[in-house]
């Protein structure tokens, strides 16, 4: 294209690529479906009526379709953007007009997204958002890939310029101009890794979100299918007259029947969202690219990184894999928003070595390998088992014993043992440590999660102590970060005070930007 060289220098308003029509159409239909899902049964019922009276309904249906197309076209027609004076301006809206003005230096995240229907045309969506706590996101709906890359580059160099200017103003550090061109690949994930990830981490919800409107139909369809295989659920569920082994067998097959598709779906979900995963780094930016149908490219500044989480679920432990999560600032509104998920960077199912390499890259002077975690007080066990679980169990057991329900008692006892074990494991896992720069927190029950964050990123500290804890000189400490908060429970009072004092000292000693 000839315009490609000019994209960033054109100062006049321009429209996006006409393929955006498709984007608007899909978005419109999605909105329609999700808003009027409850009308679908009514439509289904009246379907016969519609078919019977084509003379009445055909024009209406056609008119509605026409209206949709006109609306979509108008949306496209009114969507204009321009790059002016290091500002990005977007005008959109058919009835409600919207005008967004984003100065380049305020843009925090740059995200490229490519829905599957954009792929043949080599077109992407460019999503930009600012650090503002209220969600302000700009979306250039369809841009030629080349243009998008160029625009991204311009925005990024603009950042670099401003930070470099600051640097030269403040001091003459040997800050060799960070090169944009040098992209370093930190990690890639193969299909096998994704399959492991799908197995060990439930990614079914990726589907569940989309399928929610169709649950009833699916349930009906599945029952039909099972019936055709000669399995009658209702018959199975009435197991009064069957020997126990048969019930056991049924239960086993039923769990298999449920589990197998779920894990298959989960694998599919993992592949869908993480296909062709690469994590790379340019200068001080992380870039994540992934996706099978919708390709995504998320850029995140290293300074925005608040916390690194190394997470290992119980199946991950079996596979000797772990997930690394890079957490960045999140306001509450963003947390509730599902698209916030896309702003996080998750590196799925890496080996321990790769995991450590990633953490070392983000936090070069971390001491995760050398550090010894300090355990929390045994009172955690006493409180959870001794004061809550055991009395509850004894009460129930006594009640059941008196009423001669020994079968139930036999059922409850293993449950009690299980919970006790989980609480014990949780106690074992809890551990914390900190050096001069980082805080390390380990938690989990069967799986293990380790959170690492630089001490100066702490936003607020909370010291908590009930009168019962006070008696034993214990306390809880909560540290609030921009990405969420962490709690360190049942630690010695003196340690708690010491921890908070240290953190406050580090936060307050030098004004370092946490963003």
């Amino acid at each position: 294209m000839n315009t490609t060289t000019a994209i960033t220098t054109i100062n006049s308003w321009q429209r996006v690529s006409p393929i955006a029509l498709l984007y608007f159409l899909v978005k419109f239909i999605k909105g329609l479906v999700s808003n009027f899902v409850y009308l679908l049964p009514a439509l289904y019922v009246s379907y016969n009526h519609i078919v019977k009276n084509p003379t009445l309904w055909l024009p209406i249906v056609l008119a509605v379709l026409c209206l949709i197309f006109i609306l979509v076209f108008l949306k496209y027609y009114f969507f204009k953007f321009r790059i002016y004076n290091n500002n990005l301006e977007i005008r959109s809206g058919v009835f409600a007009k919207k005008h967004i003005n984003l100065p380049f230096e305020r843009i925090q995240n740059i995200k490229l997204e490519q829905p599957i229907f954009y792929r043949p045309f080599n077109v992407v969506c460019l999503l930009l958002d600012t650090a503002g706590s209220h969600k302000q996101e700009a979306n250039i709906v369809a841009l030629n890939l080349h243009d998008a890359e160029q625009l991204k580059k311009v925005i990024l160099t603009n950042h670099q310029k401003s930070t470099l200017n600051n640097a030269t103003k403040n001091s003459t550090t040997p800050c060799n101009k960070p090169e944009l061109a040098q992209e370093r690949i930190l990690n890639t994930r193969a299909l096998f890794d994704l399959i492991l990830h799908g197995l060990s981490n439930n990614r079914v919800w990726i589907f569940l979100g989309g399928l929610a409107p169709f649950f009833d139909e699916i349930a009906e369809y599945v029952t039909q299918w099972l019936l055709s295989l000669g399995i009658n659920i209702e018959q199975i569920l009435m197991f009064n007259d069957k020997p126990w082994w048969q019930i056991g067998f049924y239960a086993f097959t039923l769990t298999l029947i449920i589990l197998v598709p779920i894990s298959l779906l989960s694998i599919l979900g993992a592949v869908l969202s993480f296909y062709n995963f690469t994590l790379s780094k340019i200068g001080d930016r992380y870039i994540r690219r992934s996706g099978l149908l919708t390709k995504q490219e998320v850029t995140m500044k290293l300074s925005r990184l608040q916390m690194v989480i190394r997470q290992q679920d119980w199946l991950d432990r079996l596979f000797k894999r772990m997930n690394v999560r890079f957490e960045q600032n999140q306001s509450l509104e963003n947390k509730l928003n599902t698209s916030a998920y896309a702003n996080k960077i998750i590196v799925p199912s890496v080996t321990e070595k790769q995991c450590q390499a990633l953490i070392d890259d983000a936090y070069p002077d971390n001491q995760l390998q050398q550090i010894t975690f300090k355990a929390i007080s045994k009172r955690y066990l006493l409180r959870n088992i001794g004061y809550i679980l055991l009395p509850l169990y004894l009460l129930l057991a006594g009640f059941l014993y008196i009423n001669d329900k020994t079968l139930l008692l036999a059922l409850i006892s293993p449950l009690f043992a299980f919970f006790t074990l989980v609480i014990y494991l949780r106690w074992r896992r809890w551990g914390y440590a900190y050096d001069n720069n980082y805080f390390y927190l380990r938690s989990g029950a069967i799986g293990i999660a380790i959170k690492i964050f630089p001490l100066y990123k702490v936003q607020q500290s909370q010291y908590k102590q009930s009168i019962f804890l006070r008696k034993h000189q214990l306390c809880h400490v909560r540290l609030v970060l921009a990405s969420g908060s962490v709690v360190i429970p049942y630690i010695m009072q003196q340690d708690g005070y010491c921890l908070i004092d240290n953190i406050l000292y580090i936060v307050e000693e030098t004004p370092r930007s946490w963003m």
């Binding site: 640097a167 001069n436 607020q460 909370q462 102590q465 240290n502 307050e508």
Partner: protein
């Protein structure tokens, strides 16, 4: 210290070599100012007084309403429903009374402490908590006043950080002048303007 800061922020690209010439000296924790020995300042005494008044008047209002319904002569209640009304009134009354007593005691625990670099708020009768908000992480400050607070010239100071809405730092029951001067102090804290 300031030099080091200037080295740090602008070039994030070369973290290890430039910024931390690897120092790992133990911070001497004994000399740090501790939050354990914060000199806490009480809230305005009329805050406690007003809350006390408010809670006890609600308590007695419940009692009076219940008794009026019980003893009124406009319509006749069956013995059964009259008993229920009396019982619920008594239960609600005693509950509300206990809650009032609790608040009376708990309000005494509320106090705050302003230091050069941070502000702390202590509260809780059974579950004590001390929340500390460093000035450097404050994004903005708000003064809030409800109708009663406005009458009493009291104000709530709300401090927002990036920790999110769940972790908004709030000190209630400050006199308006004090709240304003604390806000001024926070706003004048030099580093708040540096961040902008």
């Amino acid at each position: 210290m300031i030099d080091q800061h200037n080295l740090k922020t602008p070039c994030n690209t070369m973290p290890t070599l430039v910024d931390t010439p690897f120092s790992n000296n133990k911070i001497n924790t004994d000399n740090l100012p501790s939050i354990q020995a914060l000199p806490f300042e009480q809230l305005a005494s009329r805050y406690r007084l007003i809350r006390c008044w408010l809670h006890f008047s609600i308590t007695f209002f419940i009692l009076v309403i219940g008794l009026i319904i019980y003893y009124q002569l406009f319509f006749i209640l069956s013995q059964h429903s009259a008993d229920i009304i009396l019982l619920t009134t008594l239960i609600l009354f005693s509950l509300s009374f206990m809650i009032s007593i609790y608040y009376l005691l708990a309000d005494k625990q509320k106090s705050f402490s302003l230091r050069e670099q941070d502000i702390s708020y202590a509260s809780g009768l059974i579950f004590k908590s001390v929340v500390t908000q460093p000035m450097l992480r404050i994004q903005h400050v708000e003064l809030k006043q409800g109708p009663i607070e406005r009458k009493a010239k009291l104000a709530r100071l709300q401090v927002f950080s990036a920790g999110g809405a769940l972790h908004t730092f709030e000190i209630p029951g400050l006199t308006l002048e004090k709240a304003q001067s604390i806000r001024q102090f926070i706003l004048e804290h030099k580093t708040l303007s540096v961040q902008q």
